[in-house]
Amino acid sequence: MTDNPSTPTPVIPPSQNRRSFLQLLTASSVTVGGVVVACPFLNSLSSQNTTLEQNFVDIDISSLKAGQQITVTWQGHPVFILNRPTEALQALQDASLITRLRDPDSKELQQPSYTQNWHRSIRPETVVLIGSCTHLGCVPTLKLGAKLGSFYNCACHGSRFDLAGRVYKSMPAPYNLPIPPYTYLKPNIIRIGENPKGQNFDFTQIKQI
């Protein structure tokens, strides 16, 4: 093994600073590919079939007595349907209450135009509210009392709303409780998720849930 004619070619390490066009092209193509590969991974986290969620819920309110409330689910939100006693309706118009509210006339877009009135509902006695505090989304609880003593109280940070879902001043919640689109199919059947004929309220346009 002494007659080895081949002498090794000296290996010149390519300059670290000057990478060739070819190497740059390869590196950038691989990077682009890598970014594209990330797409299906992130895509798999997006929700499935959100558009297919049940669009409306029908509720029979014939057995709902004055002072009673039921909670139903519509598009994943808790929806309160409350039958307000006459006394509570009178309280809603009380001047001393109105001065304590942040948005007594429902100026912010938190409800369909057909509920933009003093009682925030189609029929005065029956109110439909999304039961999700506009502060951080906890579900407020109903406290019934005499005269002005009825309100919704949010257990998380103490926000208060009156029985029309209007928020009190200097509370952490910034807006009134939202109202979903709803209509009366029959005198005693409410359909949540559908506007009355001739109305085109889009729930996704509201300020905040």
Partner: protein
Amino acid sequence: MTQDPEPHLNQVSSKKHTFSEWIEKRFPVFSTFRREYIQFPMPRNLNIWWAFGAVLCVTLLLMLATGIFLALSYTPSAEEAFASIEMIERRVPSGWLLRSLHMAGSNLFLVFLYLHLFRGLYYGSYKNPRELVWLSGLLLMLMVMMTAFAGYILPWGQMSYWAANVVIQAISSIPFIGEGLAHWLMGGSSPSDLTLHRYFVLHFAMAFFIIAVVFIHVICVHVVKSNNPKGIEPKTKEETLPFYPYYVAKDGVVIVGAIILLVLLAFFFPDLLTNSENYTPANPLETPANIAPEWYFLPFYGILQLIPYKFLGLLLSVGSIMVLFAVPWLDRSPIKSANYRPLYRIALFLLVLSFVMLGIVGKYHSHTGLIWLGRLALFYYYAHFLLILPFSARFELKRTLPTSLLDEKGHK
């Protein structure tokens, strides 16, 4: 030039400099990376067989990424597992793609693993001083096999259920402790919710243990440096090449080749490696007519079939992997590479043949004609390790080895 016109520029660059130095001083990541992955000396004559380590690393990362995202949509309960897989396949956006990649990836993982193992056997990469590289590699293989087995149970189809049942029943044949051990592993007397849940956790957790052992394996390689097709250690700097850019470029080509295989399997032949029986939900009352494990377990399953005694079959089946751990001490030849061992080369070829034969037996166990061929293959498998490896060195012709990796006379 006594005056610096733009002193702020200097400041910025010096600040940058000190930041990397600051890190470097506390955690020498930059210098380590430079030493181990840029300047790292590799033998200059490595061939394609040496690229499978890098390919396996990439495959492992693919399996981890797809696995974690699949786990987010998977439900590990006997009641819902099958339906959640169907949900991933049908409704989770890109779920079918992630699952195809995971399934094709798992098959390729085992392909590359067997190739990598064969490379080690052929070129004697287990010999002094690389015994720990070999042992940590075998440990990795066992862990990967365990993970693959656990993963196959997760869809809770017919094959999943019966695979879990058969394997755990096989364990019950161990004398004295077998019954208790099987009952304990299964969490009951037959595969159930509990079994599925623990194999899901095993599958998920094992992936991260594998990464830890991969680190050990790679550190071992970097301490003793890579073997090479000539099986002699490089002595001069001329016999080596820095890892970057030479082997980055070379491994890159093979990795892209592996990706082509992956794309072909995942996009164009997704049915090739799946058993349609596993798309029927698990039914404890009915065993599928043709029950066989995934191809990578077929040889071991074949050994189980060949031996009429349950426990002996289990011993020989597990032993066929365990015997590999002893290979560094069974092989008495000082020559590493099989390129210079003509007898051993033929023996090794027969070993591969008998391994494939055992796999065929595992697949077509019902054909009695295969039994004796299979037993011959099994005999050879053990004879190779226990007889040929220790004694062949005596009969092998003394051959002159090349003196350097630059030696043209040796095979490159």
